[in-house]
Every structure is written in structure tokens, then in C-alpha cells.
């Protein structure tokens, strides 16, 4: 059962009709509906193409949050071998919103870290909807230190609505944990590449995406605040999220112009969830390319490269 977004309603109708026709034909063998059904398929395909050609920033947010979009675990399962999850921050707990561990990427050992949102009610609750607590960042710091010690590249997969706004998270130093994680990213003498696969929500995202190279999937978003949050503050009306999404320039395309995202990874027509295998393959190629770029870089050069990237960032604005 495909999950349709609100703007995909017309598409849902056409695809639903085609499905109905086929269901009827299955019951009644004399019926010849194939031509009609195929015509509907073509119409749906055409409509899908049109819808996805001119996506507004808000629609991109919706796609980035699509429940069937491939998540961190899907990428880890498909792109990495010998994934060995490593748990815990050695202080308080293991944060299930953050996956991390040793793995091989194209046979090369790496550390992979990412936010996992979960796929059903149970796993979403377990993963806290991809919202990390301080322990998640502290686990990431620990794993990055390990990567640095053993000279392993770090790959981060970003997909979070943001850091978890909870009582315990604040008491245990949410801000300090994020600040230290960003700091750790900047200190790594190994290549750090980041892919924003869905939502790049605020400080929770930047703590993992302070990388040498940042790639974003075509319909992923990366923002200082959610469009709803921004709308409720600046428009005093959370329903103005469409306007806020527009104003925030949070799409991969705009961020590419701003120099925040180095590489936009094309998604299949209709978004990553309509062809997961193709999306995962595209992400693989992007990671390979980014890692290959830095294969011969020395630790000091990697640190300098990352620093310079951020110091120079935004110096030209969108006009660039």
C-alpha cells in the first residue's frame, strides 16, 4: 500500500483506478482492460513526472519526511558489509536514535554513523523518531575518536527532525553534547563525508554534517529550523509552513548554490521511496566519489580543508 502525500491525491486516484481495473479483470477472465489500464499507467507516469518537476520547498519537506523513504538502516544494510553496531556513550545510555559502528564500504573499513527514524510505530518509538538525546552525540563522538585513532574514514547519514526537546536531554547537556560533536567533527584527521538522506534538522544535523564533503539527496532538506517552527515564530501561525519553507531556502538545490551542500544526488522520478534500489545505488556512488577525492589526503590537510570550507561558507550569499 503506497503512502500518498497530499499533493499526490490526483495521482492516487489514477493509480487506484488502474489497480481497480486490474483487480476486476483478475476476477473476470473475459474482460479485456489491459489497454485501458496501460493508458491509466501512462497518465499516472506523466502526472508523477509533472508533479516532481516543479516541487515547492514545502512539498520537498514532505517527501523528505515520507514514511517509506529509505532510512539509515536501509542504507547500512545495502551499502556496507560486516556492519558491526557499537553501542553506548560510556556515561549514561545507548541512544537508539543514532546507529553507529564499524563496517566495510567497498571493502574498506569505515565508521558509519546515522540517525534512524524507524519504520513502524514500534520502531519509531524505539528510535525516538530519529531525534537524538545527548547520549547519541556522545556515542558519535566516541566512534569518531575511534575512527581517528585507527585512521578509518567516517561516513554519516543524516536524517533527523532535530535534537530531542526533552527534560532529561536538557538536564544531561543536550547543547554541550551537540557542541562537542561538532567540535569533534572539526578535529578529525580522517575523511568525514556526510549524506543528508531525508531531513537535516538544525543542530541535530549539523553535529553530524560538519564534514569535508556534504551530499544531499535531491528531495532532502537541511534547515536551521523546521518550516512549522519558523512559521509559528515569524508568522505567529504554524500553518504558514509553506511560506516559511520557501523563505528558508532549505532545498538541496538552494544549499548547493550557497556552498553548504557540495553534491546533489538525483532521485528517481517520484522520490527515493518509489525506487529504493536506484536511490541507494546513487548514494553509494556519491559516497565512493567523495571518499576517493580524499583518499590520499594527510590528516592535517583534511582538518584544514574542513575548517576552510566552513570559514568560507556563505561569504557570497545566494547571489553567488
Amino acid at each position: 500500500m503506497t503512502h500518498y502525500l497530499d499533493f499526490e491525491k490526483p495521482l492516487a486516484e489514477i493509480e487506484g483506478k488502474a489497480e481497480e481495473l486490474r483487480a476486476m479483470a483478475r476476477q473476470n477472465e473475459d474482460m479485456d482492460i489491459e489497454d485501458e489500464a496501460k493508458a491509466l499507467d501512462r497518465k499516472a507516469e506523466q502526472l508523477l513526472k509533472e508533479l516532481y518537476q516543479t516541487l515547492t520547498p514545502w512539498r520537498k519537506c514532505q517527501i523528505a519526511r515520507h514514511p517509506e523513504r529509505p532510512h539509515c538502516q536501509d542504507y547500512i544494510d545495502a551499502l556496507f558489509t560486516e556492519f558491526t553496531p557499537l553501542a553506548g556513550d560510556r556515561n549514561f545510555a545507548d541512544d537508539h536514535a543514532v546507529l553507529g559502528g564499524l563496517a566495510r564500504f567497498n571493502d574498506t573499513p569505515v565508521i558509519v554513523i546515522g540517525h534512524e527514524k524507524g519504520n513502524d510505530t514500534k520502531s519509531r518509538i524505539e528510535r525516538n523518531f530519529g531525534m537524538a538525546r545527548p547520549e547519541g552525540y556522545r556515542k558519535a563522538i566516541r566512534l569518531m575518536e575511534m575512527a581517528d585513532k585507527f585512521g578509518l574514514p567516517v561516513v554519516t547519514l543524516v536524517d533527523t527532525p532535530g535534537a530531542y526537546p526533552g527534560k532529561g536531554a536538557e538536564e544531561r547537556g543536550q547543547s554541550e553534547a551537540i557542541a562537542r560533536c561538532t567540535e569533534k567533527c572539526l578535529q578529525l584527521g580522517v575523511p568525514l563525508v556526510s549524506v543528508i538522506i531525508g531531513e537535516g534538522g538544525s543542530g541535530g544535523a549539523v553535529a553530524f554534517a560538519t564534514a569535508n564533503r556534504v551530499a544531499m539527496l535531491e528531495h532532502s532538506v537541511y534547515s536551521v529550523i523546521s518550516p512549522e517552527g519558523c512559521a509559528s515564530i515569524l508568522w505567529k501561525d504554524a500553518e504558514k509552513m509553506r511560506e516559511a519553507a520557501e523563505a528558508l531556502r532549505l532545498t538541496a538545490q538552494d544549499l548547493n548554490k550557497l556552498g553548504v551542500c557540495d553534491h546533489v544526488i538525483a532521485e528517481p522520478v517520484g522520490g527515493a521511496h518509489r525506487d529504493r534500489a536506484a536511490t541507494i545505488e546513487a548514494v553509494k556512488n556519491a559516497i565512493s566519489g567523495m571518499l576517493a577525492d580524499m583518499a590520499n589526503s594527510k590528516p592535517k590537510a583534511l582538518i584544514q580543508d574542513r575548517r576552510k570550507k566552513f570559514l568560507d561558507m556563505g561569504s557570497k550569499g545566494l547571489a553567488a
Binding site: 562537542r180 549539523v206 561558507m313
Partner: protein, 302 residues
């Protein structure tokens, strides 16, 4: 009648109008409601003389109270692209900026300066909450980087007073990337083995807390300052329960191990001098009245 009209009435009027005190002479304490005479209040660094409540203080006034003889030299901040995104909500961002500049008489939300405190040379940075909520955009990022670079150049400690609602939404992602940018500034100081002292003032929240404001060698907060990542209202909406008394206030953070000290503003200067001089391996400060700034004084340890 002429005499009454021309002389007595104006006299009476002037006596009454004189009793209508101009607004800016008296301030009301936000906490206890006491009316405080402006000079008394500013002499006490905007701390209520009755209840000790810490009211906001502008970076300029703070520096005037911090540096020896109130003398400091402003450090230039590289001007970033204005309105990088062409941001418009109900107002245009450049209009909001102009209004903030008019209101505060400042260019932006951070002031950086160099000077001496207790004859100890430092670089200082202070954030201005009255300027668009002290929000961190590219200018604030540039200011912190410039302050750090100057501190490294002069081999001085950096003392930073934070106050902000968080990142400046109107600069979108470019405000978010100030988190790593300012972290680079902190690293410059660390690599030069120079002290970086953060004084968290009311309120310090969001992306500011989650970057340079939490990375100090010494973390001091002013009493009762709200210090958090997510604000109490956001948390209450999320977890749907009332938060404990004093939650996310300076003393609460101190109890939870997130701060080194909570120090009243009136004692802050002395404390900063003491800490900085120890970290810089200088001799103890001499208490009491200091000679006029500029007077030659050898304070390097023998």
C-alpha cells in the same frame, strides 16, 4: 487676570509637569517591581539594588563596567553579505535589521573589543539580546572569528558574554553553519593555549548554547539566567508535563554539572581577573584602586 494667566498658570503648570518624571530616569525591576533610579541602576550594572535581579545590559555598558577605567578599543568585524537569502516573512529582513539598528544604536548583535581588566590584557565579545534577540547570523559568526583571531594575534585570553535566542532564522542555513564556524574560532584559541572563558547571561538558548557558548575552558553564568537548547515552552509542548521549578536556570545547570560557577554580575569582573591571571600564569592582581589606565606597570612574574 493677566497676571494669573501669564505668570501663575505657567508656574503651576511647570511645577506639575516637573513632577511628571521623564520615563528614562526611573526603571522598574522586572522581578520585584521596585522603582530604581537610572544612575543607581547603571552603577550597579543593571542589577536590582533591592532583590539582586539581573536585568539586561548592553554590550557597551557591560564593557564600560568591565574594562579598566571603562576604556576599550572596538575590533572591526568583517561585514558579511547582507540578507543573503532575500528573506521575507511578514516583514523584510533588511527592514527588521534597520529597526533593530535604530532601537539599539548598534550595527549588529555582537560587540568585540580589546582592553585591560585589572591591568590584564584581554579580548572580549558580548552579545546583545536587544538586537533581534541576540540571534546568531553571519555577522555574529564573523565577530567571534575576528575576536579569536585578534586574541591569538595578541596572545590574550578571550572572554565571551553570550545572550541569544538562538540562530538567526532569516539567514536560514547560513545561521546554522555558524555553529561549526564559531567552533573553529574556539579551536584557534585552544591551539594557541589561550583561555576562552564564557559568561552565559540571560537568556542563552538554541544554536548558540549548542556551539561556542558551551565550549569554554571555564563556564560561568549569571544568576537565574535561562540556559538551554530547547526552550521550556517547546519541552512542555513535547512532553506535556510541567517542568520543575528553576528548570534550565543557571543554578539548575550548576547542580547538573553543566557549569563551573554562577556569579553575580557585580562580582564578575574581579572573578574574571582572578581566573584569567591564574590561567595566564600572571602574579595575583593588586586589590584596591588602580592607577589610571595607560600607566606603566610591570606585572610579569619575576
Amino acid at each position: 487676570m493677566n497676571w494669573i494667566n501669564n505668570y501663575v498658570r505657567p508656574r503651576i503648570n511647570s511645577i506639575f509637569s516637573r513632577r511628571e518624571v521623564p520615563e528614562n530616569l526611573w526603571s522598574k525591576c522586572d522581578e520585584c517591581g521596585t522603582m530604581l533610579f537610572h544612575r543607581e541602576l547603571s552603577d550597579n550594572l543593571n542589577v536590582c539594588t533591592q532583590c539582586g535581579h539581573h536585568m539586561a545590559i548592553s554590550p557597551r555598558d557591560r564593557f564600560a563596567g568591565l574594562f579598566d577605567g571603562g576604556i576599550f578599543v572596538e575590533i572591526d568585524v568583517p561585514q558579511p553579505v547582507t540578507d543573503p537569502l532575500g528573506f521575507k516573512d511578514q516583514k523584510k529582513y533588511p527592514d527588521r535589521m534597520k529597526a533593530a539598528q535604530k532601537k539599539t544604536d548598534e550595527k549588529e548583535a555582537m560587540l568585540i573589543a580589546e582592553g585591560d581588566i585589572g591591568r590584564t590584557p584581554i579580548v572580549a565579545a558580548a552579545q546583545d539580546f536587544s538586537f533581534l534577540g541576540g540571534s546568531m547570523g553571519m555577522y555574529v559568526g564573523n565577530a567571534i572569528i575576528a575576536a579569536a583571531e585578534r586574541a591569538v594575534e595578541l596572545k590574550r585570553p578571550l572572554i565571551l558574554f553570550s545572550a541569544a535566542g538562538g540562530a538567526r532564522m532569516q539567514e536560514g542555513i547560513l545561521s546554522l553553519v555558524q555553529m561549526p564556524r564559531t567552533t573553529v574560532a574556539v579551536q584557534m584559541l585552544k591551539e594557541a593555549n589561550l583561555p576562552y572563558i564564557v559568561v552565559l547571561t540571560h537568556p542563552t538558548t538554541g544554536g548558540v548554547t549548542a556551539s561556542y557558548a558551551m565550549l569554554g575552558d571555564v563556564q560561568i553564568a549569571e544568576p537565574n539566567a535561562l540556559i538551554c537548547f530547547a526552550g521550556p515552552r517547546v519541552i512542555e509542548q513535547t512532553i506535556r508535563e510541567t517542568l520543575p521549578e528553576g528548570f534550565q536556570r543557571a543554578e539548575y545547570l550548576l547542580d547538573h554539572g553543566m557549569l563551573d560557577r554562577v556569579t553575580p554580575r557585580t562580582e564578575l569582573r574581579e572573578e574574571l581577573i582572578t581566573i584569567v591571571r591564574m590561567l595566564m600564569k600572571k602574579s595575583p592582581a593588586i586589590k584596591g584602586d588602580l592607577p589610571a589606565p595607560g600607566a606603566q606597570f610591570d606585572d610579569t612574574p619575576a
